[in-house]
Point group: C2
Chain length 509, copies 2
């Protein structure tokens, strides 16, 4: 059965129109988070929800669904990874997902999560989980209901159906295996680091770094590693993110801390990594599966690779440090490259995920992954959550939050209904290390390139192996195609050990 070109074109036109409106709403959100006047919030929310409703209307149109169904049938004997077949399959999948949730449930979730975020904010400020308890319970119940509907007629669990929104086709068992393989060696390494007498001097990063200088410097670094400022821009906001508003319009946002240089610098490299992924998608397929990112885990692998595998490597600083000590002369006067490089690679168990180093970070994620599964399957009640949280921090990281504000109330995600989102952070870290190993093997001496400030070959490799295909393969298929093996924790463990053990003078952890 041949694929009807006319039907395909019509389906694409409708998906593109929905994307036009979707990216418009994203533009309004970008503006809201960069500099919208404070009194303008209420009207802005109305604009955004009007647009989101227009998008939803288009994406759940029954005639559009019928066409997609037909197309999928016509594609049955074709190459599943061709742009046409992948477009039909993924749009049909999105359509089914969008239709599975009744509008009234979507609206109830939307209201619950708006209230959820407000209540979370109030509870965190008051450092009082009880304020948040009922609201969170409501969000969890609604997300469970959504997960039940999404899992109907599939072989997935309720949690897996929720996870699927962020990491399509991922299996909980696979993730569990990767996390298990990661946890034991990580805990061992972190313990050895904690006990080492050799510790970095982080005070050099806490000196006053003027924000204007940091801004110029971050812009320079983002440009050097390959973020294209003709097709994007860099701004500031309180919670850094990356958003794409058109095929040639990627916006990255960072935050500078005058007393903590790494925040703005590595924040920028992280977001630039996200941005370069978006900029590497094929613009002519913008708004369609071949031109869309495949999963949050893969997205995070790109940001983490540039932030950590590149940005915290020794060769990178062999290139950048002379310019850094020039740009921040008074702050870095007399500080050697060794001292600086050790300081930006500090590992220390801490309470707050977003401030965690690249080794302990994953332990924060594993805790959340375990707890949110229990919340959804009902084996943990919201009431018992703070105690469970604290117990896990004590056992896994060896520290106990003195209060809920620094514990269970630290992240906005659950209040916003983002269940199944956390594991993608660690999947990204794991994938970044595995991709970096493959790139090193295939390209050759990356260290030598970095030491000369040459990043183009690495970016091109990522473009070709990851960015180019969009959603034509699944995330795990892409990893396997690029690296030759399925996702495995080994690479991240080896990467961390081989960098951190010499720095901390550890023979073998």
């Amino acid at each position: 059965m041949a694929v009807s070109q006319e039907r395909f074109d019509s389906v694409c036109a409708r998906a593109r129109e929905a994307m036009l409106l979707h990216s418009t709403a994203d533009t309004l959100e970008w503006d809201e988070r960069t500099g919208m006047p404070i009194a303008a919030g209420e009207y802005r929310a109305q604009q955004i929800s009007t647009l989101r409703a227009l998008v939803h209307e288009r994406r759940t149109d029954p005639a559009y669904g019928d066409d997609l169904q037909q197309l999928v049938q016509e594609c049955e004997n074709e190459d599943p990874h061709s742009t046409i077949v992948a477009t039909a399959r993924q749009l049909h999948r999105d359509w089914q997902r969008d239709c599975k949730l009744p509008t009234e449930l979507v609206e109830r979730i939307s209201q619950a999560t708006v209230r959820g975020q407000q209540t979370w904010d109030a509870a965190r400020q008051a450092d009082d989980f009880s304020i948040f308890e009922d609201t969170l319970g409501n969000v969890i119940d609604l997300k469970r209901e959504a997960g039940q509907r999404l899992s109907e007629g599939t072989d997935r669990s309720v949690y897996e159906a929720l996870l699927d929104e962020y990491e399509p086709d991922a299996k909980v068992d696979d993730i569990q295996q990767v996390f298990d393989d990661l946890r034991t060696p990580l805990v061992k390494l972190i313990t050895a680091i904690k006990e080492s007498p050799q510790q970095p001097d982080t005070s050099i990063l806490e000196r006053t770094y003027c924000i204007d200088d940091q801004r110029d410097f971050s812009h320079f670094v983002a440009e050097q590693i390959g973020f294209d400022f003709e097709r994007g821009r860099l701004d500031e906001t309180s919670h850094p993110f990356c958003t794409t508003l058109g095929p040639h319009d990627c916006r990255i946002l960072t935050r500078y801390d005058p007393h903590w240089l790494p925040a703005g610098l590595f924040g920028t490299m992280h977001e630039a990594g996200h941005g370069m992924y978006e900029q590497g998608l094929r613009p002519e397929w913008f708004g369609l599966p071949p031109g869309s990112y495949v999963s949050l885990g893969i997205h995070e692998s790109q940001s983490r690779l540039w932030e950590n595998q590149v940005g915290r490597s020794r060769p990178f600083w062999e290139w950048l440090y002379p310019q850094t000590s020039e740009a921040f002369q008074s702050q870095l006067d007399g500080v050697s490259l060794d001292t600086f490089h050790f300081a930006i690679n500090t590992v220390r168990p801490s309470l707050i995920r977003v401030e965690a180093d690249e080794a302990t970070y994953n332990l924060h994620i594993i805790i959340r992954f375990d707890l949110e599964q229990q919340l959804i399957d009902g084996s943990l009640t919201v009431k018992d959550l703070p105690e469970a949280w604290n117990a896990r921090y004590q056992s896994d990281l060896g520290i106990c939050p003195p209060s809920d504000a620094d514990g269970v109330l630290q992240d906005v995600h659950w209040s916003a209904g983002l269940i199944g989102y956390f594991p993608t952070y660690t999947l990204g870290n794991v994938a970044a290390a595995q991709l970096f190993d493959a790139a090193s093997e295939q390209i050759g001496d990356l260290d030598e390139l970095f030491a000369r400030g040459e990043f183009r070959l690495l970016l091109d490799w990522l473009r070709e192996r990851i960015h180019f295909d969009g959603r034509c393969y699944s995330g795990s298929e892409l990893i396997e195609r690029a690296t030759g093996t399925p996702l495995s924790a080994t690479h991240l463990v080896n990467y961390l050990k081989s960098k951190l053990e010499p720095l901390y003078g550890i023979t073998d952890s």
Copy 2:
């Protein structure tokens, strides 16, 4: 016949929904003009035209028109200036106007003016009117056709029907009278100024004024005169403007020139004047006639009043100059208040409208007003336009453009289809002077207030007399209600003479 509340509410809901989408498109345009990545233009244009089409669909919906027709009938014996009746009348009027132009004509105009602006830009850069001739001819023909359709069944001329879009209910004869009354005394005054041996030293304004300092200073001035930064913001762009994106979201934009202090400073005061008008409209009526600006002429009266009647007055600088010479110490060292005040009130015939002073500016407008009427009624062909332009500059301003780039090609308006737009600039100047006289009479000693940096009473007066009513009255009705007399050129003439004659040592011009 009573007004049906249900029908009224439904009509308002539909108008508000159209406004949500309209203000969304305006947000995209604001972003485009403030910092959108250069490669993003094409997709942005698609987003904007999709939104504009959705707005047009809603605003020309026949069922909506029927409801409006009904409402207007129900309102027949009610107070025409009440919010309900004005809403019905003005929305019905907008609906009629929107429906009078067939979609295909609107699209042809849209395409012609997009091409028009591109061709204009190319012609101006090449300094070659012949490149632009055919394209402009096409725009004029299409606008004439639009004007013919809009004037059908009314007693208005084709030109008046076009003017009506910017200055509703204005009569060409009335404008002609005001312009005639203005022209003779203005030419006399300008001639006397030209011949005066007493001339200002403008070089003090051409020193290097660092843009960062200008930015801080302009922000300070805008805030002091009353622009509300909780409900608005100030940014930079190449062609300054003011746009309102929501009931509490007014954006003003300016441009700083490091070698011409007045550009950024008075540009900011000008846009802040526009902004304060928008911020004075009733937010609860946002998107409906009682919460909308009445006409471009009235809008311009607000910007010009703050820029000129306030910003170029002697008492204003008695307050601000000490702070100015502090902020720009090295540039204004040894420059007296008198010298500064004279410099910012320089009058000198020049070729470029946007750089013209407040006296000669109106002569630029009168030329355009005359020529565009002739283009529309066919008594002047596009081919003969450059010659007619140069002849008028010679006779009215005593200078002849050395080339079309500094002559007929200087303004984008006609290429963009803005016919009937120019006269609103001078109507604004005339209204500003008249309003200021009335305010002085009713409030008392404004000079004394300005010298103390006190502008609240003037702003409140404008709020009450002009801003509050939105479109419940026409522009000319508002002027007459606020000042007691119809619009007249006398006030502007007297204002200019009484300020400029003493500065230039003229006994009587």
